[in-house]
Amino acid sequence: MAIEKKHESGTKKGDVILYALSTCQWCRKTKDLLSELGIDYYYIDVDLAIGDDQKELTEEIKKFNPACSFPTMVINERDTIIGFDEDKIREKFE
């Protein structure tokens, strides 16, 4: 069963999933930027997932970002933006 991701509603610009850490400030900035841009997205704080759930998530992330670093943003299960790359994020959604 897929692990439930939190939903932030906004303008739909594709299926946006943000893998983040609750303690990471670059992840925080990424969430804030997506909200500022009013983008509809799902996120999950991977550090708060427990045991097998966390393992499942890291496997999922590694498909898009082998280093499994945070934040990792996946758009339409295809494109990725790794790290808080403000210019890239703005360019993608603005």
């Binding site: 609750s22 303690t23 400030q25 670059w26 550090d47 890291t58 670093s69 790290g83 808080f84």
Partner: protein, 169 residues
Amino acid sequence: MNDKQINDKDIDKLFNSLNEDALSSGYNLNPDTSFTKSLVRGLLVNEKRYGYGACPCRLASGNKQEDLDIICPCDYRDPDLDQYGACYCALYVDEEIKSGKKKVSPIPDRRFVRDEEKIDNKNKIGNTGLKYPVWRCKVCGYLCARENPPAVCPVCKAKKERFEIFIGK
């Protein structure tokens, strides 16, 4: 494991102590105090959650031995400060960023080139004929020749487990 248990007083206490340690040993905390305090909060969360202060911007395994390299200050802080002017989470920055001449920006995680270095380190242990092995603090580079590393690095205060053999005897 409730993150809300961490209060502002604890955050300020650790922030002040990190700031003092940084300044007295030639390092600087990020001047963006609200950003830095949020990182300090993350360190406290990790300390509570895992029993060690793993980097707030990296996913800790919960196994301290596996994560020694990412306990703050991490093994990658100094090379990252040299190359990018900030460490991975940007808790520590260089003079240029501190004075506002340069903006802090996210950087790639140096942790993933570690495995090659590890193999390299193994080759340094051998019959050198020295009376004592030379230990190196992986956090700050401090070297000392003695049977075992000191309990605490006299320069950066990193714990014993953060030392590696630099030259074997």
